[in-house]
Amino acid sequence: MRNKYIRLIVIAYISFNILSVIFYCTIPNENFVQSKSSVASNQFENMQNEIKNNPQLLTLRISDDKYNFKNYTFDYEGKDLEISIAKDDHQIFINRKATDDNKIEVYWYPGPIEVNGIDFTSVLKEPNIKLNQSKLNINYEKQKYSFTQFSKDITINQFYEKKDNEINNGSTGFGSSLLYIRIPKNLKILENEDFQYLP
């Protein structure tokens, strides 16, 4: 091949790389799967410790914007209620209200989910919570997430504190979600040993 063509190909290849770098610099750091690793876990853990020491605090936390509890309210005039939860790794707290206001309030707080050190808690879908006659159904859709993770070159990782291994072997854990259910004063709940009643 003539040198002229070789030079053209080399220039084209270098230009492609340079253009890639220019474009790369303009990519906004938005919508990416964020790596706020352990933020949700730490917040959740702190709240759990608080509740353990003082369960009444949960009543305050549900109205705290920082915790972003999802709220569902149902009008209910029945005498008994059965609570059915499809997923069993929940912490369920039940608080009997002081009045009989015929309203069932359900507050849901997602358990922290961390995969490879990446916090997925914020992208999880809320459960479907429906009141069907005298049964409160809490169901979850099966959720599938797939994502791409880049590891930095060995020539970068060698000189930086955060080694590539730390990314790939980042912690993976599924935390149990928290349900806080406020029921009218005289509503009878069909017993379940997993429920914790708050005074």
């Binding site: 599938k144 997430y145 880049f150 000189f159």
Partner: protein, 243 residues
């Protein structure tokens, strides 16, 4: 003394420019190898993993540009071996030259080739990220590992260059000694096969690969490269002009 030095440098410069022109196809070989490496990298050769519970299921595609790095380093090592072949060596004698100028121009050419390979290899990592970004939604890409700082890119170029040149200097030395006697071919082959099984090899890998300070890494690799190139020059200087 000064005159001799100038003459040598002039010849080296002429030979270097001549080699850049006549061996320019080697740059194409590097480009082709890197494109192949990029195709491997883009085809999710980095592997996958999955984790789930009864509700949530996560699958992760791992991506890296390690394939481009390995392909490039292997390619430059291959080219280095070619440079010491008799057919390529004889090109030097189209000039009034000696072994010294031939070696120095070869080293200059290898440095240029390594630099080209290092820059394009490191930037290929960026290109791979851009291509992935264009073809899959950013909401499917983990922020961690995707964004590189300019310093990290520079560091990658520098370290890749030093690694390529390191292997290149070793291969250059090996091919130089094989021109003394064919016995060295057997010795080198035996060393390639046996050395990875010895603790010396893991110590050597640690010596360079576990050096986390870039400056010390640069010093270590550059000293090794200079030593290997010097040894190659000494070995070939003792050979006849068209050995």
């Amino acid at each position: 003394m000064s005159l001799v030095k100038n003459n040598l440098m002039t010849v080296v410069k002429k030979q270097y420019v001549f080699k850049l022109r006549s061996f320019s196809r080697f740059f194409l070989v590097i480009i082709a190898t890197q494109i192949l490496g990029m195709l491997f990298a883009l085809s999710n050769a980095g592997g996958m993993s999955a984790t789930s519970n009864e509700i949530y299921s996560f699958s992760i595609d791992y991506n890296s540009s390690i394939q481009v790095f390995i392909f490039t380093i292997a390619c430059v090592a291959g080219i280095t071996a070619f440079l010491n072949l008799k057919e390529y060596k004889d090109i030097d004698f189209t000039f009034v030259s000696n072994r010294m100028s031939s070696n120095l121009s070869n080293i200059g050419f290898l440095v240029s080739l390594s630099l080209f390979g290092a820059i394009t290899s490191a930037l290929s990592g960026v290109s791979i990220r851009v291509i992935k970004y264009l073809f899959i939604s950013s909401s499917k890409i983990a922020e961690i590992g995707f964004f590189l700082t300019p310093l990290e890119i520079m560091c990658s170029i520098g370290a890749t260059f030093l690694y390529i040149l390191l292997l290149s200097s070793v291969v250059y030395f090996c091919t130089a000694i094989t021109r003394i006697s064919n016995v060295f071919i057997i010795v080198i082959l035996a060393a390639v096969l046996l050395l990875p099984q010895t603790p010396i090899f893991s110590n050597l890998v640690s010596f360079y690969g576990k050096e986390h300070n870039f400056f010390f890494f640069m010093i270590k690799t550059m000293i090794t490269e200079v030593l290997f190139f010097l040894a190659s020059i000494l070995v070939s200087n003792n050979m006849e002009v068209r050995g």
